[in-house]
């Protein structure tokens, strides 16, 4: 898998695949941090949700940069456009769902 990608090949030429190792460690650290926060009841629910979400976003960034080669491409960067569209749609879906599911709130009575 990795050997077909040019980026990895470059790293392979210059010793150990540091990018992959750093990414791997970072992703594990982020996962363990989230786990510890929840199991250890380290915060009250509202800040806890927020912190976990921040950790999740960081995790996505780590995956994209260290493993999914977001910065590499031949030709137009279609994957970046798709990713942007994905972000828009995910925000729409999450925000829309919250808006819908808190129903009854604006029934006039």
């Amino acid at each position: 898998m990795a050997h077909t990608s040019e980026g990895a090949a470059r790293h392979a030429a210059s010793g150990p695949p540091w990018m992959h190792i750093i990414g791997f460690v970072l992703s594990i650290v982020l996962t363990l941090a989230a786990l510890w926060l929840v199991l250890g009841h380290a915060m009250r629910p509202a800040p806890l949700f927020f912190t976990i979400m921040v950790l999740a976003v960081l995790q996505i960034a780590v995956q994209l940069f260290f493993f999914m080669h977001i910065t590499e491409s031949y030709g137009p960067a279609w994957h970046v456009w798709m990713l942007a569209l994905g972000v828009v749609l995910v925000v729409a879906i999450v925000a829309g769902s919250i808006w819908i599911m808190t129903f009854g709130g604006d029934v006039a009575y």
Binding site: M1, M82, L85, A92, I93, S97, I100, F103, D106
Partner: protein, 655 residues
């Protein structure tokens, strides 16, 4: 456990129904017949080498097509059984349990196991040929996609004779679909069948998205692509973002059912409405997934058979991309009546109406393509012409449904049923049949008989209106969907009777299509030129059927309607470029692993259906082994040497 709910788990095989015994017998007979024929004519090796292990997009397309037609048959029989039961008040042809199962399987099969493979058939058959590619971007993944679909559908269909069919509707809302109200394995079949084939759908979406963006012939810019490829691109964007939501929704409901979680119960912080919400976040884009490729096919057919360029190409592209994005902002119109508040309803009502604008524009563009053209009424064109009024009416009732306060009167009524059948049959099914008739000679090297095809069209088209127009009326009379019986005296009798007659006319239409296929295999007009319709796009530059490597030389494209322009130049007697010398062609190797992988998925799914986790573990382990094998398999491709190419091309009469 609620009294009266039949506990199917105690009966492995469904018993006590003569209809199902009949099916049991016919399944056994058909299986024996297939085994006999394959053995008698020594075709097992051929089946394995040529079909089960193939990674050729054309063959995969043909297999999708066969599967889609089979599922159209099964879903259609379900529909006819329902219409027979509803033909007259107080009928006792089917009882409630049976009727509930039949409308559930009808809906599920028609959307996920008929419409989806039908569009994938068209993707596979046409896209690589239209963009001048030798295969899709990931041929091996393409084979996996097909077999995932196939075994997902097979698993779902098993429910009919083993364990009992799901009966909570194709929408499968909890709490009705949750364990307390639905203890049998039927619902598990639904969840796992959809899950397995859904993974395949996501993979197909990614595959064709990459294929279209990365594998176009030199010179074919995006704005020179045939509109069908644009429609596939738009559909793939929707698949990539919508299907994961379904995957998650189904997985959570499955966890609720087999592990006792509470995602979709009202207890412990869950909420059944969240399933409804997630289902339609996928469900609404899904209807555009199945209808956009149909729009693409109509665009190809209209231009070809009007002998004219497609009108308003850029606004066609813009409208498809607009539909792809806006389709994510309309999902609440499937549950306006769940009390989400006037703000929510207004937003989603207006968003739904907005999506009608680009759709309407497309219809005008098709009309203007025909305007001042030279229209040939062939079967593909006939299905296209049948589609336009159909979709105009279906689209209009769609706009009516989007008016949220009025939807309070339409929701769950036969008005809604008539509407979505009009757009899904009138749009998707007509589109896929148009595509099938259009590309049939390209796939098989002979045309389908036009006379039989026209009879089939007229039976189907007239039957369609007879079947569904009365349903609008009976919806206004207060008839709700999914009732298996109704009393006399409400005025519902006559519209229902007419509707049933129409359904049978459509059934005759389907039989005529099958007859057309059977007749044409023997007597159909052979296509020796490769360009039977005087086509405009690159697939018609190849022989029919094309060789397995498609293009001996990758064509150079410098305009839209590339093949049409080449023909024009040749006609004007302009000098042709000297053909480049042939070079060895890089091709993917066939592999049996996708098939085995998906059998393993099937075994795992079957284990989950009956909570026999030994099967699940064995299945999933096999899946893991297959993935592992693939990761370290470097022997995946080969080159066709020039001598062999020359030999092939000469045999096809091409230099």
């Amino acid at each position: 456990m609620p009294v009266g709910v039949q506990n199917y788990t105690t009966h492995f095989f469904v018993t006590g129904d003569p209809l199902i015994y009949g099916v049991d017998v016919s399944i056994i007979l058909v299986s024996l017949a297939i085994v006999y024929v394959l053995t008698r004519y020594r075709k097992w090796g051929w089946l394995w080498r040529e079909w089960l292990t193939t990674v050729d997009h054309k063959r995969i397309g043909i297999m999708y097509l066969i599967a889609a037609l089979l599922m159209l048959f099964r879903g259609g029989v379900d529909g006819l059984l329902m219409r027979t039961q509803l033909a007259w008040p107080n009928m006792h042809f089917l009882e409630a349990e049976h009727y509930n199962q039949i409308f559930t399987t009808h809906g599920t099969i028609m959307i996920l196991f008929m419409a989806m493979p039908f569009i994938f058939a068209m993707f596979n058959i046409a896209v690589p040929l239209q963009i001048g590619a030798r295969d899709v971007a990931f041929p091996y993944l393409n084979a996996i996609s097909f077999w995932l679909f196939f075994f997902g559908a097979l698993l779902f269909n098993h429910s009919f004779v083993i364990g009992g069919s799901p009966d909570a509707g194709w929408t499968s809302y909890p709490p009705l679909a949750d364990l307390p109200f639905n203890p049998g394995p039927g619902e598990n079949y639904y969840l796992l069948g959809l899950q397995i084939s859904g993974i395949g759908s996501i993979a197909t979406g990614i595959n064709f998205f990459v294929t279209i963006l990365k594998m176009r012939a030199p010179g074919m810019t995006l704005m020179r692509m045939p509109l069908f490829c644009w429609s596939v691109l738009a559909a793939c964007i929707i698949i990539i973002f919508a299907f994961p939501v379904l995957t998650v929704a189904l997985a959570l409901l499955l966890i609720d059912r087999i592990a006792g979680a509470h995602f979709f119960t009202m207890f412990d912080g869950g909420n059944p409405m969240m399933f409804v919400n997630m289902f339609w976040i996928w469900g609404h884009p899904e209807v555009y997934i199945v209808v956009l490729p149909a729009f693409g096919i109509f665009s190809e057919v209209v231009a070809t058979f009007s002998r004219k360029r497609i009108f308003g190409y850029s606004s066609m592209v813009a409208s498809m991309l607009a539909i792809a994005v806006i389709s994510y902002f309309t999902w609440v119109h499937h549950f306006f009546t769940m009390g989400a508040g006037p703000g929510v309803n207004s937003f989603f009502a207006v968003a739904t109406m907005i999506i009608a604008i680009p759709t309407g524009v497309k219809v005008f563009n098709w009309l203007m393509t025909m305007f001042q053209g030279r229209i040939r009424i062939t079967t593909p064109m006939l299905w296209t012409l049948g589609f336009i009024p159909n979709f105009a009416i279906g689209g209009a009732t769609g706009v009516m449904l989007s008016v949220a306060p009025a939807d309070y009167q339409y929701h769950n009524s036969y008005f809604l049923i008539a509407h979505f059948h009009q757009v899904l049959i009138g749009g998707t099914v007509y589109g896929m049949l148009a595509g099938m008739y259009y590309w049939w000679p390209k796939m098989f090297g002979f045309k389908l008989d036009e006379r039989l095809g026209k009879w089939a069209f007229w039976f189907f088209n007239i039957g369609f209106y007879v079947c569904f127009l009365p349903q609008y009326l009976v919806g206004f009379m207060g008839m709700t969907r999914r009732v298996y019986i109704y009393p006399p005296g409400l005025g519902w009798e006559i519209p229902n009777l007419i509707s049933t007659i129409g359904a049978y006319l459509m059934g005759v239409g389907f039989i005529l299509i099958v007859a057309d296929v059977v007749y044409s295999i023997r007597y159909g007009e052979r296509d020796l030129t490769g360009d039977p319709w005087d086509g405009r796009t690159l697939e018609w530059s190849l022989s029919s059927p094309p060789p397995h490597y498609n293009f001996a030389r990758i064509p150079r494209v410098d305009s839209r309607d590339a093949w049409w322009e080449m023909k024009q130049r040749r006609q004007r007697g302009e000098p042709m470029e000297e053909p480049e010398p042939l070079r060895p062609i890089h091709m993917p190797k066939n592999s049996g692993v996708p098939f085995i992988l998906c059998v393993a998925f099937f075994v795992a799914g079957f284990g989950f259906v009956f909570n026999w986790y030994v099967f699940s573990v064995i299945g999933l382990l096999t899946v893991a082994i297959c993935l592992f094998h693939r990761s370290f398999d470097y022997d995946t491709d080969y080159y066709i040497p020039v001598e062999e190419l020359e030999h092939h091309e000469a045999a096809l009469g091409r230099t």
